[in-house]
């Protein structure tokens, strides 16, 4: 690091320490920018890839009301994707570059969407557990140090809490329904519970990206702290509607008031991140296919807009 970089870095860290937001035109260390691009584009891609497992059920949604709620929810997710792409663009990367990175595998999306949505209760479980876990993380990110990201989170959190409620409503209805519906709900619970706990990432001791992120206040709470919040909030909700927690070791610690759980299968977690989840290939293939098939439409729109502009000259 040369002298200028050191000074810049000190000024930057002072700002962070005083709790000020960093804005797009402020000077920032290259690693801070890179970290944000990685995290924010991953967040944006997750919203967009997440449209697939849910979109998989729109045409089969079992009532007109359910179909409308699901359509509206998926639109919200896509809207979050747009909003996050724009926020990430303030860091000097274009949306098409981000999409290229997604396709090349350089950029990731949340591993949770590499699990399949197999029955209608999965739509409930995705809203309740997956969005529920995302909210815990996103509420914390409302205080993240990068201004555009923080503001995006404030807006997104409002809609996500609606999603979580509608997911829980589906689960509740299914648990009050026929035996078959209850089985679907429990089946969805069994498949989504552990992956949603993995969404918070590795335990604090094994989390490679956390140190700087905490120092720069991109991340305000640790993986384990956030996971614990989710567990404490969600287990009572599950029990209330008669779902079984698929963990024979979970229990309430009377002293601390927190739930403790059995061991998370990190082999599965790393395996899915490596590309071996049930739907990794399918999700990316789908995104690439429709992006490529849409190329002629994007080209046409661009050509048309150029022609219109030259007519105006």
């Amino acid at each position: 690091m040369n002298l200028l970089q050191e000074v810049t870095s000190d000024v930057f860290q002072d700002k962070i320490d005083q709790g000020e937001y960093i804005e797009p035109k402020d000077t920032m260390p290259e690693d801070y920018r890179k970290h944000l691009i990685r995290q924010m584009s991953q967040h944006a891609h997750s919203e967009v890839i997440g449209m697939q497992p849910e979109g998989n059920w729109i045409t089969r949604a079992p009532s007109l009301r359910a179909k409308q709620i699901l359509l509206a929810k998926i639109q919200d997710e896509g809207g979050h994707g747009l909003y996050l792409y724009s926020a990430t663009e303030t860091l000097g990367i274009s949306r098409s570059e981000m999409i290229e990175q997604l396709h090349s595998g350089k950029a990731k999306y949340s591993s949770i969407f590499n699990y399949p949505a197999l029955n209608w209760a999965d739509i409930g479980a995705i809203g309740w557990l997956v969005d529920g876990a995302a909210i815990v993380n996103q509420v914390s990110l409302q205080r993240t140090s990068y201004g555009p990201y923080s503001r995006a989170m404030v807006r997104i959190c409002k809609e996500e809490s609606f999603h979580q409620r509608q997911g829980y409503e589906i689960m509740t209805r299914m648990m009050r329904g026929t035996k078959e519906q209850q089985q679907m709900a429990q089946d969805a619970m069994n498949r989504w519970w552990w992956p949603s706990l993995m969404m918070f990432g590795p335990h604090d001791n094994d989390s490679p990206n956390s140190n700087n992120a905490i120092k720069w206040k991109i991340k305000r709470e640790s993986n384990d702290e956030l996971r614990q919040k989710f567990i404490d909030k969600t287990i009572p909700q599950a029990l209330l509607i008669g779902l079984t927690i698929p963990d024979e070791f979970y229990k309430l610690d009377e002293k601390t008031g927190h739930y403790t759980i059995g061991k998370i299968n990190w082999d599965e977690f790393h395996n899915v991140i490596k590309g071996n989840g049930p739907c990794n290939k399918q999700r990316l293939k789908h995104h690439k296919k429709y992006h490529q098939e849409g190329a002629w439409v994007r080209e046409a729109a661009e050509a048309y807009s150029k022609k219109q502009k030259s007519k105006l000259k």
Binding site: R60, Y290, Y304
Partner: protein, 251 residues
Amino acid sequence: MNNSELYNYTLRLADNALILGQRLSELCSKGPFLEEDLAQTNIALDYIGRAQSLYNYAAQLSGKPLSEDELAYRRAENNYYNVLLVEQPDEDFAHTIARQFFYSVADCLFYAELTKSKNETLASIAKKVIKESKYHLNHSSDWVKRLGGGTELSHEKMQNAVNALWMYTDELFEIDDIEHKLIKEGVAVNSSNHKSLWLAEVTEVFKEAGLSVPENNFMMTGGRSGNHSEHFGHLLSELQYLQRAYPDATW
């Protein structure tokens, strides 16, 4: 007023909305770019909402303890009365746009007229719906112009889609005894009057888009009396899957 005619009339309107909404909702996560993906699902949402209001009213008119979902989900193929145009599959984005454009031009003419119906329920649904229809028309006619006037490839695809779907457009203006009776009562819209207005509007947009009006005058019909295409059964089997597989469940 004879309820069975009004019931059938309302059901036809509901079926058009449901089936087009179902087709559009198939497109989720398949758009050429994110904004357009959202636009298509947004239009789908408009139609499903419209279908819900209309089925709700039809259920009241049926004189039976039917729910809107039973009407939407539990009928046999030949008891759906939507026009053939709305069930046509999305071969590519140009087909989606052509179908939407043809439908929306007619839909705007239709619902603008229905706002004046003597039937208060239909008139009030029409007042809400017409705003959405205008947006659908703007959106689709913009795309007709963009694709028609964009690149050579997009022009060719747009013209192909127009040619392929042209034969389903006449059915939009058909009327039968049900309508004749309700028109006399000031309830229904005489859509047979709209054909020339529709053609004028379509021709105008085509002119701007550099597209030609197809010369093929053969017109397909049947949807309104329950004779559908082979595509339709597949659409219904997805739509109806859960309601049919678990008839005792409430969702």
